[in-house]
Assembly symmetry: C2
Homo-oligomer: 122 residues x 2
DNA sequence: CAGGATCCTCTCTGATACTG
DNA sequence: CAGTATCAGAGAGGATCCTG
């Protein structure tokens, strides 16, 4: 495996802000992006399907999060001119490809769940 | 590979808050944690070594970030009773083990850097 | 149905000053 | 050296109401 420490480390403030790794981590570190990617991984969903499927996620934040994911090219937005209008969200190939490294993190978290909870209790 | 969508999805508000995957992502999604893990991956560092080594990272935020990492059991803090006191931070085995999935994300970001930048321009 | 607009709160981040 | 305390700003998150 490649060593994280061997990767180019952002040393200046600008490097850090522009670092693609930093950008990705901040996106998946927000409150709902990963959950939405996860749901869309099972197939395209309409706006209100996503809204109803995720408890605690407000209307507004869903919109903003989808805009962010769309802006990063991870999610596509397709409008169907029905009446009333239908909008379908789906993972792009780029978004699909992100699921693999995300899974690595998720599996790590599940595998070390007990240790994490033990540490947090102290 | 295991499918992210196949992992247990947090469906209620409490599930989401307690989800270990969510917790890990929010930690590594903060501004400095990954960079610090990355630096400590090369070996233990003293407080001011970390501070000097990372431009733009304030005194206070370094303290808070290290407390967070320590609280999650990812970083250890050792005090040496020298005069003045010396404090050494190092990755715990748990912290070391996190570097592997983190590297997967980092490599994904670097591999798809061009696509990400192109998407963000539109 | 799929949102945009407002307003409000809370957390994260940071600058500055002080301490054992 | 390695912090803690205080204060201030920015941004994320959320509730509510309105619209094509």
């Amino acid at each position: 495996m490649t060593d994280v420490a061997a990767l180019p480390l952002p040393s200046t403030v600008d490097d850090h802000r522009d670092c693609p790794v930093t950008g990705v981590l901040r996106r998946v570190g927000d409150k709902w992006s990963v959950l939405i990617i996860s749901v869309l991984g099972a197939g395209p969903r309409r706006f209100n399907e996503l809204h109803r499927g995720i408890e605690g996620l407000s209307h507004r934040i869903l919109t903003l999060t989808l805009r962010g994911l769309e802006g990063d090219g991870l999610v596509s937005r397709t409008v169907f001119a029905t009446n009333p209008v239908t909008v379908e969200y789906a993972l792009t190939p780029l978004g699909q490809s992100l699921r693999e490294p995300l899974t690595a993190v998720a599996e790590w978290a599940l595998r070390h769940r007990a240790e994490l909870e033990a540490a947090r209790r102290d």
